[in-house]
């Protein structure tokens, strides 16, 4: 329309150079572009501004924008490294990178530690774990007596909290997780390996292709 050349592409909000992001992560350029498709659909679901806010994140995770919970909040905070209250595309890719099957185990262990260290003190305190347990049990409608919860915590902390100071530090966590590798299962998303097939529409928007024509 008008006298402009209408094939000039407007910069898409939120878009960061895929080549740069690919060089910083385990993703290839086409995988970053596929992630951008996913990012676009999530970030436009409530407010179309090229950024993922808390509501949009909840909507993507739970298919329910109203569903708030302790864990989604914590994960959102960890994705939102610049603490702006929104996740941009770069944040998105760099955070998901940790969940890539090829990401270093160390990064996964570290991210997982931060996940449970809700108040960011650098330690996973017994009280924090208790809070999470109670919140989780409440949501799952599983009822447990307080002393049962204490027994569960005792058992866990006797194994994990080696110096018995009531909290789990980074190295104790490292050892604990090495002995219980199933705890890291959530830190790997096999979907990320097949991202280009899950979001094939990127083929039509690929910057790489456009440059070639």
């Amino acid at each position: 329309m008008g006298c402009f050349n209408s094939t000039v592409r407007k910069p898409v909000p939120g878009h960061e150079n895929p080549t740069i992001l690919a060089s910083q992560t385990a993703f290839s350029v086409s995988e970053v572009e596929a992630l951008f498709e996913l990012f676009k659909s999530i970030s436009s679901s409530v407010i179309d501004d090229g950024l993922i806010n808390k509501e949009e994140f909840q909507l993507a995770l739970f298919k329910n924008r109203k569903k708030e919970n302790l864990f989604a909040n914590r994960i959102f905070d960890l994705f939102d490294v610049k603490q702006k209250g929104v996740i941009d595309f770069g944040d998105f890719v760099r955070a998901l990178n940790v969940f890539h099957p090829n990401a270093p185990q160390e990064d996964k262990i570290s991210f997982c530690f931060k996940l449970y260290d809700m108040d960011g003190t650098g330690f996973i305190e017994r009280q924090e774990v208790k809070q999470m347990l109670i919140a989780l049990l409440c949501e799952s409608e599983l009822k447990l007596a307080d002393d049962t919860i204490e027994i569960i915590l005792d058992k866990t902390f006797s194994e994990a909290d080696v110096d018995q100071d009531g909290k789990i530090d980074k190295s104790e966590w490292h050892n604990f997780v090495t002995k219980n590798p199933s705890l890291l299962k959530i830190m790997t998303l096999p979907y990320l390996r097949d991202i280009t097939t899950t979001f094939p529409s990127f083929v039509f928007n690929s910057e790489v292709e456009e440059i070639a024509t």
Partner: protein
């Protein structure tokens, strides 16, 4: 399998399952690798495996579960919701917690199996597998009940469909399994009637 040698007489094994503990068994590999392997051989293996593990129900050692495992049970930490279209949480798994010991749980499951005419196998890793003797809409229904020990008097049992039709599984779970387990179940995850004093009337 690229070697044409192995393709001769090779039949894809869809309906046979061999208890996990025997996946590493030399017998199984020897049979599968042979180009002469047939479904009959696997049948026989399966029967031997089942007979063997049934007699080992007393050696059932459930996987231990700690506070973080329980937290992860909630699936709330699961980011795969970003990639999946279905609402997370609507899965064909059910969990219950019980104060009974492992052997009491197993014997209750055996009671369910004999009432519903299911064959029962107890696997050494703490999973109890129940398989229907009759063919259902999508083959024989098989259900796994995996037992996790949190403390010796507190167990989490995860029930899920292993094979067969989902609707048949759900019917079995709600009409066959739940009522019989009522005495030992302290709480079902996601169930509204979760207290011990619940007067739920599942009639059979």
């Amino acid at each position: 399998m690229e070697n044409p040698w192995f393709q001769k007489g090779f039949k894809k094994i869809e309906t046979h399952y061999i208890p996990r503990s025997f996946h590493d068994s030399e017998d199984v590999f020897k049979s599968i690798d042979s180009p002469k392997c047939s479904c009959n051989d696997l049948n026989a293996l399966e029967e031997r495996a089942i007979a063997k593990s049934s007699s080992n129900s007393s050696s059932l050692k459930p996987t231990s579960m700690n506070a973080f495992d329980i937290i992860l049970l909630s699936q709330e930490f699961n980011l795969s919701g970003l990639f999946e279209n279905n609402v997370p949480g609507t899965k064909s798994e059910a969990r219950f917690i019980t104060k009974q010991s492992t052997s009491e749980i197993v014997s209750k499951l055996q009671e369910v199996a004999s009432t519903e005419q299911f064959q029962i196998t107890t696997l050494p890793d703490g999973t109890v597998r129940m398989q229907a003797c009759k063919e259902g809409r999508k083959g024989q229904l098989a259900i796994d009940a995996e037992i996790f020990e949190v403390t010796p008097s507190f167990h989490v049992v995860e029930v899920k469909k292993f094979a067969g039709d989902t609707m048949e599984y759900e019917r079995f779970r709600d009409q066959g399994l739940k009522p019989t387990l009522k005495d030992i179940v302290w709480s079902w995850q996601g169930d509204q009637q979760t207290t011990e004093t619940s007067t739920s009337n599942h009639s059979r």
